[in-house]
Amino acid sequence: MPMALHIPDGFLSGGVTGVAAVVAFAAVAYGLRRADRDLDEARVPLLGVLAAFIFAAQMLNFPIPGGTSGHFLGATLAAVLLGPWLACLVMAVVLTAQAFAFADGGITALGANVLNMGVLGALLAGLAVGAGLRVLPHTRVAYLGLVGVVAWLAVMIGAAATSIELAVSGTVPLGVTLPAMLGVHVLIGIGEAAITVGAVSAVLASRPDLIALGSFEPPRPTGAPAAAASA
């Protein structure tokens, strides 16, 4: 039976797993704090459903040319629906369950897996979707295109981070892994983009208010300057 990967124990040095774990833990801890602001009533079941959906979709390896396969990661989808910080939390829930219950991904490497597949993608999505919306037309097509590009980028950044961690650990030189990892993940990222765009369009069609990144709701009056001007 093939070992299903996430980074297993043994690939990374103690120093690298330690630093990755500290960064991942900090992001998840901040996610717990941000629940005060980001976790409204409707997002309570949504958090559970997203964790379940990401877990399920990560089991669905799709074949890519060259005798390998790829699977959905989910950080961009989680960030779009929950905001980047709760997304870190959801990814940590999924990856922790996978490591302890399913022996998928290492225990000492858990922080690195949360960082590579969760935190980096979620924070990238938080920054890039917001920035993209400022320059793009406010249409559904532009929004979905932006989400797709960000999902693809998140996978590439995760693959690059994994290669860097492997190199710093002394496991394999960057010049060897980086091109190979990026080459494979160019295609895996396209799968990620397709699934993310599909899921986000389904949410836009049924519950657009559940989109956290990029508002499709009429803007809320927040001490509105318009009201002040008319007074």
Binding site: P2, A4, A35, D36, G48, N61, I107
Partner: protein, 115 residues
């Protein structure tokens, strides 16, 4: 709330059913080829460096195969079913606890994050 929106209850049930259905019925037919990192590790000769932590030797459902079931597809499907519902339960419970903590803080009137 506009009338055209589905309720959060229906949204949750449909999305969860989709996730459980995919994990149970589709995952047994997913590609068994090594995934991105595993393929590269094989290719570049560092796959053997990887291994299980001691605690993982006792994982309840190692490698997404429900223990004690001969048929590989059935074992994978069952692992997907149990795992998806389990992860939903953990995520939902965590969110409920976080909401309750926030509620308690707000009723004490020191909700710092709200502003």
């Amino acid at each position: 709330m506009t009338g055209s929106r589905v309720s959060i209850r229906i949204f949750t049930v449909v999305a969860l059913a989709l996730a459980v259905g995919l994990a149970t019925a589709v995952s047994p037919f997913a590609s068994a080829s090594p995934d991105g990192l595993e393929g590269v590790a094989e290719d570049k000769g560092f796959l053997e460096d990887g291994g299980l932590a001691p605690i993982q030797e006792d994982s309840p459902i190692p490698d997404y195969a429900f223990p004690g079931i001969e048929d590989e597809r059935l074992a994978t499907g069952l692992a997907g079913f149990v795992g998806t519902l389990g992860v939903f339960a953990i995520g939902y419970a965590l969110a409920l606890v976080l909401r309750r903590v926030r509620g308690a803080r707000e009723s004490r009137g020191d909700s710092a994050g709200a502003a």
